[in-house]
Amino acid sequence: PGGGAALRLRSTRAPLEGINKPVIDRVIRVDHAGEYGANRIYAGQMAVLGRSSVGPVIRQMWNQEKTHLKKFNELMVAYRVRPTVLLPFWNIAGFVLGAGTALLGKKGAMACTVAVEESISDHYNNQIRTLMEEDPEKYKELLQIIKQFRDEELEHHDIGIEHDAEATPAYSVLKTAIQLGCKAAIFLSERI
């Protein structure tokens, strides 16, 4: 075709060739929901603690989550994945969780961060395992992205620990409750 050499036609079908669509669908849907929820959690925390001494720390972590969400928005469009119906729910639940734990104080907010980031890192590790079992070559780009995000979530986790998350009253109870919630959220967002 004339002029075809210089112009690379980007068919929107290209990324979809030969991938295991059900698996990739789930991966992207749940990760998108997760980053969306994380965004809302930090937004809730900022609403309460924005002007406190941990404000800048939270804001920085929030900005990183915003980048993550942006990336998953792009992937969602590229792979034509349906977002979870529960998004409006995660919108509110995330904000409430963030604001609620922030009302427990700075340590409470950090405890929430630790709990959530630990859940997310575990979850990303599971996904990395799944994709490696499927086909590490085919999903190279996706694997790279998830690995990078997992590392950044682990950083957030460490920041939370540094800021005395473990000194929160009823830390283990709070942490367990939040992580259970995260597990449920992951389970549902993969499917619905």
Binding site: L9, T12, V77, R80, P83
Partner: protein, 286 residues
């Protein structure tokens, strides 16, 4: 896995015999007993690849042809395609399928491969139409990317896509009400729903929808509503070249656009009001 080539006629006669036996088990799709029969042969039948199991996949493309070998699914595909020619005369029935099989040089017993209510024929037709629509939209997209065509505004794009898809019904319009009622049988609803949703998703995708929030659902729900109502209007339309239907479609799409504009206006007004109130609160507290 290299498989024995089963001459189609023998396969059909075997299936036909089986179908008489399996007629009592009306709930099973007729293809599965025959599938199991073939699988028990030592030089087995090519196993079905698609994730949905033994039932022919209506939502994807048929199997690839490798050299001489034709899978059962491809054969059924060919028979159903040939049968479409006879639908205007015989309706979506086993007669049409039998006639189609005859034109391919096969025995009329081939109709026994399929359900007597014509479900597979209709689902096949819908799947083919959807594929044609996707290809049309893909072509259009290429032209726009090459700069040989203008990008259409969303309402025009949606209108054209729905019209193009509905026009594919025109040769079969007399018998389409029958088809719709069969598509609504509980047994067929998973397949017909899946075909409908993937078609609507395709249209929005090519229209350039990039929503990743709840809008994704709203837009598809609205377009599904537009498509279904326009289809029903078309069934009762006797105007020349269905111009009443296309006018109805235009109005519905315009309504949808207005609704979405109003919704975003309401949202931004709401946001402005909230900001105003916050400002007032801050002022009062100072």
């Amino acid at each position: 896995l290299r498989c024995q080539h089963y001459p189609p006629l023998r396969a059909l006669q075997a299936s036909a015999a089986l179908s008489r036996v399996s007629d009592e088990h009306k709930k099973e799709p007729l293809t599965s007993p025959s599938q199991q029969q073939f699988d028990s042969h030592p030089d087995g039948h090519q196993p079905k690849q698609e994730p949905q199991g033994p039932r022919p996949s209506y939502t994807g493309q048929g199997g690839q042809e490798s050299e001489d070998y034709e899978s059962e699914e491809q054969l059924q595909h060919r028979i159903l395609t040939a049968a479409l020619e006879f639908v205007p005369e015989h309706g979506w029935t086993a007669e049409a399928i039998a006639e189609g099989a005859k034109t391919l040089g096969l025995s009329v017993a081939a109709a026994g491969l399929f359900h007597s209510d014509g479900s597979e024929l209709i689902l096949h037709f819908v799947s083919e139409c959807n594929t044609k629509l996707s290809e049309l939209l893909e072509q259009e997209q290429k032209l726009v990317q090459l700069g040989e065509a203008e990008k259409k505004p969303t309402d025009e794009f949606l209108r054209n896509a729905v019209e193009a898809r509905l026009r594919m019904l025109i040769p079969y319009i007399e018998k389409w009400p029958q088809a719709l009622s069969i598509l609504l049988l509980p047994r067929n609803i998973p397949s017909s729903l899946s075909l409908l949703t993937s078609m609507i998703d395709d249209i929005w995708h090519y229209a350039g929808d990039q929503s990743t929030d709840f809008n994704w659902y709203t837009r598809r729900a609205v377009l599904t509503g537009i498509y279904n109502t326009t289809e029903l209007v078309m069934l009762q339309d006797s105007s020349p070249d269905f111009e009443d239907t296309w006018r109805f479609l235009e109005n519905r799409v315009a309504d949808a656009m207005t609704m979405s504009n109003t919704a975003s206006q309401v949202q931004s007004t709401g946001e402005a009001v909230v900001q105003g109130l916050m400002g007032a609160a801050v002022t009062v507290s100072n």
